[in-house]
Symmetry: C2
Subunit: 230 residues, 2 copies
DNA sequence: ACAAATATTTAGATTAATCTAAAATAGTTT
DNA sequence: AAACTATTTTAGATTAATCTAAATATTTGT
């Protein structure tokens, strides 16, 4: 079936998948921004991927792109590789939270199905990655995720940290130092309309933490029923 | 220092290193043969690598190539990666003897120094690989190897299997089934001038084994003093 | 609804790695 | 030493991925 895709093509598909989580069609400029290439290069590439047999993308001039079934499958394969690798690098080789991403980004294109399966087995077929990301199943189904951005939480709401963006080592070290890791329960104490700052309290710690939008937009949470503070 | 080399360049350097173990200068045709590309492509590539600053190869038209210090260092780095990876895939992920080579051939170009170091640590800084190959040290010194080809052994000589070629899965399964693995001691019983067949007996087994030149040329051994059979 | 601003696409060039076919060199044989 | 053979090199073309600059759409603001 699926013929061999270059690392570059895999990166395009992965990027489009991630952008498609918040929007139905993705603009060429957004892709260019994330991949660090010129918009012109993206246009040429998406035209090519839409013209493949079978097509990996659905593309209409000036209207952006969406993944086809085929393209989505390829994207999920890479994302599964990436998330399994991150966990593996941490659990088996002792990498830290913030180190795993860069290494996984290179290895994800190169490992075989065999490698993927053996790693999954060693790790006990995990459903979530090191930073809380859902891991697509062996058959490439992405578990659905009812999470929302911490950015959108408001005072008195209670939630659980679900997932943090894995691609900024500095941010990861910062969050770890504050105790903001997947699983932790928190309550929003305060919100500022002017700068979108949120003041939070983590369960089990008396300390209060204030986070700006550039941080809270990188964190996904699972909402819980608002509770009255005891 | 060393700028980034493409996977392709790394494969050229690795190939030239291995060929240089038996000869001082390597012909473009030999390289083409092993890499599965045309001789013309090799000529172009070696010219480029000899023109880099610093040069990775020493090249004279029609006289073949040799690695420079710089080129050798790069080759040893890849070879260290390859051999550590093979061992790691076997020990940690449960790959079999014959499966590791193909996977290591892809991963070797992609892992970081960090990965290399952590793997070496997990494995206890091994000096030899899964098939008995010497592993260059962290500082890229190749341990010297006083081995010779099994092909050259003659009746009554006693030796120990040192290393078997890792790149033919079928041959590896065959050798494993016969018990020909690094460390095993054997005696040569018989040699045939006509077809270069060798008849051997492995220590601890009464069975006799006959091997042709296409097999004995893939096996390296350490000679021991000839002994009279007891 | 039109002009200005923004985003996207086209055109043409570049680089790395490869190929085939033709030309040149080296080695061998008589 | 001339001629033949085998190897190596040159020349020119091809493919994937990128770029810059120019052209063209689309969206937005008044």
């Amino acid at each position: 079936m699926s013929k061999h895709l270059s690392d570059t093509v895999e990166d395009y598909l992965k990027t489009i998948y991630k952008l498609s989580e918040d929007q139905s069609r993705v603009g060429t400029g957004q892709i260019a921004e994330i991949l660090g290439v010129s918009p012109a290069s993206v246009t040429v590439m998406v035209q090519r991927l839409a013209a493949e047999a079978p097509p990996l993308l659905d593309y209409t001039k000036h209207k952006g792109v969406a993944l086809t079934e085929e393209g989505q499958r390829a994207a999920l394969e890479i994302i599964r590789h990436h998330r399994l690798l991150e966990l593996f690098l941490h659990e088996v080789l002792g990498y830290s939270w913030d180190q795993v991403h860069a290494e996984a980004d290179r290895l994800e294109h190169v490992i075989s199905e065999e490698f993927e399966e053996r790693v999954a087995e060693v790790l006990g077929d995990p459903a979530r990655g090191l930073h809380g990301e859902p891991i697509p199943s062996r058959s490439l189904v992405m578990p659905d995720n009812h999470s929302s951005f911490l950015l959108e939480m408001r005072p008195n709401q209670v939630g659980r940290i679900r997932e943090v963006n894995d691609d900024d080592p500095g941010l990861l070290r910062f969050l770890e130092s504050l105790g903001i890791v997947p699983g932790v329960i928190f309550q929003v104490l305060d919100y500022s309309v002017y700068d979108d700052n949120l003041r939070l309290k983590l369960e089990g710690s008396p300390k209060e933490i204030v986070l700006g939008a550039s941080v809270t937009s990188q964190i996904l949470v699972e909402e819980a029923e608002p509770e009255m503070a005891g």
